[in-house]
């Protein structure tokens, strides 16, 4: 047991916990922040993604102790105050979630991707860079659109190429202009 001190969502927290406590366990069970989820045992599904010093990481494969004295941001802390982060809004607008279990990790991954990607984000880049997050419900189609829409809002249209064709959330297929 050790006293673990981290900054989580802007607040310093200290808890007694076993050294073997994973960061995701620390967040969920010690801090009651149940937004980050555990979906697998092999560091593949991405449901647990958080930010450590602004960089995305799978919190199921980081010890809470490794994040000591670091700044951790979880889904609960992504938006400031009452407003939603543009990625959160885009996920809702573009139906980028169904059951919602992968969603916190997905949003955290997308937010960090948009903040750090060097160059123009297009569908191909999103699909490659988001490989570390699994979704079983959506088939990824709408998540790609949500991420590109949020990227355009955050970084401006010059840094994004929107999908060439696909569906507006109506009946007939619509040619989306870039």
């Amino acid at each position: 047991m050790s006293l673990l001190t981290l900054t989580v969502n802007g607040a310093e927290v200290s808890r007694e916990a076993d050294d073997s406590t994973l960061l995701v366990e620390f967040l969920r069970e010690h801090l009651g922040l149940t937004g980050s989820h555990v979906g697998c045992d092999t560091t593949q599904c991405g449901c647990c993604v958080v930010h450590i010093d602004g960089v995305s990481a799978k919190s199921c494969t980081v010890l809470a102790a490794q994040a000591g004295a670091r700044k951790v941001t979880t889904i609960e802390g992504l938006a400031g105050g009452d407003a939603l982060h543009p990625v959160q809004r885009a996920f809702r607008e573009h139906h980028g979630l169904q059951c919602g279990f992968c969603t916190p990790g997905m949003i955290m991954a997308a937010a960090e991707l948009i903040a750090t990607y060097d160059g123009k984000l297009d569908e191909h880049a999103v699909r490659e860079e988001m490989e570390g997050n699994l979704c079983r419900c959506t088939g990824y189609h709408n998540i790609v659109r949500a991420i590109l829409a949020a990227a355009e809002e955050i970084n401006g249209p010059d840094r994004v190429v929107r999908p060439a064709s696909g569906h507006a959330p109506g009946h007939a297929p619509v040619e989306e202009t870039a």
Binding site: S20, R28, E29, T34, G35, S36, H37, V38, G39, C40, D41, T42, Q44, C45, C47, T74, I75, E76, A79, L84, Q88, F91, R92, E93, H95, L97, Q98, C99, G100, F101, C102, T103, P104, V126, R127, E128, M130, E131, N133, L134, C135, R136, C137, T138, G139, Y140, H141, N142, I143, V144, P163, S165, G166, H167, A168, P169, G170, H171, A172, P173
Partner: protein, 783 residues
């Protein structure tokens, strides 16, 4: 009074009510709940596929640090804990009647929470250890000593059906629990006898598993003061699980409360109770503390209820003009070590003729036990299997007889004027425009341009294939549903017994209610998943939810309007019959006073009453969503790597309540069907009976980078079978997917003849097929 269908919200891509909590990390999944003093349960699982349990020594485990209790089948039996009443034989009026051999009842292997006699599949739980922490329980579980005596085992579907296969249940002479015949044998045989051509094939649609991203979990709490159990557990129907678990525990259902709030994906895997649900409830009573269980992903891979696993031998008789005359099919379903559900076999059986007008058919439906995890309905239960069989058969016939594969289909499609169409095994297709779907999907997919795209790929040294599949599928589901429609001054609440896991019921049901009542969408709230509030309901499966929910809400609305008229009449001083209701407003002809629902709710409240109705409905009539799809794939012959370049679908879902949600369902359904074709498989080592794919490192999944964007279009042929004309939109994406991918692969490898490989078509298998094909082609040239 028949509510008028004046749609403002229905048909619109309304953004979801569910999302706010889910995008901010405030979802309420089972593992998010914790209770003070809770202890953790961990299961001890069998490493053998089949073994006698000679004894279980828990003494070392009991002494381990932090252990509060260790439970075995003997403990449960001594406390009178019973079997889970899975009730696996589908029994609505329109389900195909499955029986044992010679019409005998189906023998259902009993499913106790923990077995006493033997283990029948790798991973079967034989004991539960409860300790202060999950880590301590895991350590103690390693100390439980089980004395197994290994028995011969069988895992392969066909092998399990052999008369001399190792037997799982003493009560049966072999492992075959269902063996029934359907259709018209005499006329089928006559048609085959006079047929100009007979084309036959044999397939094994292999086993996959649902992989909902939320691993299953359960938290049980027994309240000594009230004598009631509360179970938090993501499920496919909290009401059903409450009834079943009450029976397991031998108590009145009123003493059980099941809470399934946010559920992280279902797809069928959660439609039956898991043993841990009963075990945490049992242990919480024994220990006087809440007990929690959470499956590892590897446990989920091994012991979630699994899907598919059907061996089909099918034959099609055609006349000299390519008209389908009859179909023969022998379907063998591997239901695993216990019979938990016969839905896949039954539902598939009703659809063996697919979208085609085949006058006669004979079907032998069999189900077999094997030393594998139990199978159950999984996304489009039973329909991808039979769609695969008929669509592959039609392609084979086209190739063998020199027909264009689309022309041969057109010649034989069920026509709109034949609707309602009773197929050769008695399923009554309610409505659909199958050729229109074909025309539209070919247009949408730019099928005409595919030859050019193929040529361009070939010029780059790649192989290229275009696949096509029609489909028709069925939505039946538990026939009963209940809605409480409650109007309060602050808004409308609908309590209903479906169980969403991502389908958006809180939004789409609110759309239906808002339009039927004539209130703004924002004023309607949907309540689900807590059996203390939800008193009855059928859960969510088989595409039943919108159809049943909209029907019962429609009927409840009519009842509520009558109540509303009575209240309004009293207020306005007229007889109820003089009150008119339209667009959410009650009025009489001779005044201009209007009352809306919330006015009436206030009037009721002033009297200490609540304006509400409870309505039950029972519908047995199935509906038949249908459609068509096209896909294009590119293969690198040097590696066997396959990329899907285009994937296009048209899906007739009947009335579409929320197209955004329906498109999302189609996308996800496509991914699951394609997953089966290309990456997914519950592989078992035949020598050892050990499952080999128990992690994402071994079980390939649809991912961002192996799927394309889709082009999906909704067709709405209103169904005459229910008030809103709904069919279902949740499973049509999956149904034709294995068939269309295989169709594309065969097209890509056409120069080598149809490849003799089975799904999943991983790069190694594709490359091997190309090598084999090239060698054969060389030999042919040399000859």
């Amino acid at each position: 009074m028949t509510p008028s269908l004046h749609f403002r919200s229905v048909g619109q891509p309304v953004r979801r009510n569910e999302d706010e909590r889910l995008i901010t990390g405030k979802g309420r999944f089972t593992d998010d709940f914790s209770l003070p003093g809770q202890a953790w349960g961990v299961m001890v699982r069998s490493p053998y596929p089949h073994a006698l349990i000679q004894g279980i020594d828990v003494s070392a485990a009991l002494e381990a640090e932090g252990v509060l209790g260790v439970y075995t089948g003997a403990d449960l039996a001594a406390d009178g804990i019973g079997e889970i009443p899975h009730n696996p034989v589908p029994s609505t009026q329109f389900d195909l009647k499955l029986t044992g051999r010679g019409g005998t009842p189906v023998y259902i292997g009993e499913h106790y929470l923990l077995p006493q006699d033997r283990v029948r599949h790798v991973g079967e739980a034989v004991a539960m250890v409860v300790a202060e922490t999950r880590q301590l329980a895991q350590t103690a579980a390693e100390l439980v000593m089980v004395d197994y005596e290994a028995l011969p085992f069988v895992t392969d579907t066909s092998a399990a059906a052999e008369p001399d296969a190792p037997r799982l249940w003493d009560a049966l002479p072999d492992n075959v629990l269902v063996d029934s015949w359907h259709g018209d044998r005499e006329n089928t045989e006559a048609a085959f006898a006079r047929a100009a051509h007979v084309i036959s094939m044999r397939y094994h649609l292999h086993r996959v598993t649902g992989v909902p991203l939320e691993p299953r979990a359960s938290l049980g709490h027994f309240d000594v003061e009230t004598g009631r159990y509360t179970l938090w557990a993501g499920s496919g129907g909290a009401v059903r699980q409450k009834q079943e678990l009450a029976k397991v525990l031998g108590i009145e259902p009123a003493r059980v409360r099941v809470i399934s709030l946010d559920v992280g994906g279902n797809f069928g895997t959660r439609n039956r109770a898991f043993v841990e649900f009963g075990l945490v409830m049992y242990a919480s009573k024994k220990l006087g503390r809440p007990v929690k269980f959470r499956a590892d992903r590897s446990e989920a891979f091994l012991t979630d209820y699994q899907g598919r696993d059907l061996v089909v031998e099918v034959a099609l008789a055609l006349d000299a003009d390519g008209k389908f005359l009859a179909l023969r099919s022998d379907n063998l379903s591997n239901i695993g070590s216990r019979c938990v559900s016969l839905s896949p076999l039954s539902k598939g059986s009703g659809l063996i003729t697919g979208s085609y007008d085949i006058p006669y058919a004979t079907l032998r439906s069999r189900a077999v036990y094997s030393n594998t995890m139990s199978t159950q309905a999984y996304r489009s239960s039973g329909r991808p299997e039979v769609t695969f069989a008929i669509e592959r058969l039609v392609d084979k016939a086209a190739r063998a007889l020199g027909y264009d594969r689309l022309e041969l289909r057109r010649r034989n499609l069920v026509r709109p004027e034949q609707m309602p169409y009773v197929n050769a095994v008695g399923s009554q297709y309610d409505s659909g425009e199958y050729e229109k779907n074909m025309d539209r999907v070919l247009e949408l997919a730019d099928f005409a341009g595919s030859a050019a795209r193929k040529a361009e790929a070939l010029a780059r040294g790649k192989l290229y294939g275009v696949g096509f599949s029609n489909y028709v599928e069925s939505s039946i589901g538990t026939p009963k549903e209940r809605a409480d429609l409650i109007v309060r001054p602050e808004g409308v609440e609908v309590v209903i017994g479906t169980q969403p896991a991502g389908q958006g019921h809180e939004t789409s049901f609110a759309q239906v209610t808002a339009d039927l009542l004539g209130v703004p969408f924002e004023t309607v709230k949907i309540t689900l998943g807590d059996t203390d509030v939800v008193t009855a309901g059928g859960g969510t499966h088989s595409g039943r939810s919108m159809r049943h929910a909209s029907a019962v809400i429609f009927l409840a609305t009519a009842d509520l309007v009558e109540k509303g008229k009575a209240l309004a009449g009293e207020k306005l001083g007229v007889a109820p019959a003089a009150v008119e209701f339209a667009d959410g407003v009650f009025r009489t002809a001779d005044t201009n006073i209007t009352l809306d629902w919330f006015d009436l709710a206030r009037i009721a409240a002033e009297r200490g009453e609540t304006l509400m109705v409870r309505r039950d409905n029972e519908m047995h009539t199935p509906v038949f969503p249908n459609g068509a799809c096209v896909c294009e794939i590119e293969i690198d012959p040097d590696t066997g790597g396959l990329e899907i370049k285009r994937y296009t679908t048209v899906d007739d879902v009947g009335r579409c309540i929320n197209p955004m949600i329906v498109h999302g369902q189609t996308h996800g359904g496509i991914a699951q069907g394609v997953g089966q074709a290309l990456w997914e498989g519950c592989v078992i080592d035949p020598e050892t009976g050990q499952p080999l794919a128990a992690a994402f490192t071994e079980y390939g999944m649809p991912r961002f980078d192996n799927l394309p964007s889709f082009v999906t279009e909704i067709a709405e042929v209103i169904s005459p079978t229910n008030p809103l004309g709904v069919k279902a939109g949740g499973e049509g994406g999956t149904t034709p997917a294995p068939a269309v991918i295989t169709s594309a692969l065969e097209d890509a490898l056409a120069e080598f003849g149809p490849p003799d490989i089975s799904m999943p078509f991983n790069p190694f298998k594709i490359w091997s097929a190309i090598q084999t094909g090239r060698k054969a082609a060389k030999l042919e040239r040399a000859a």
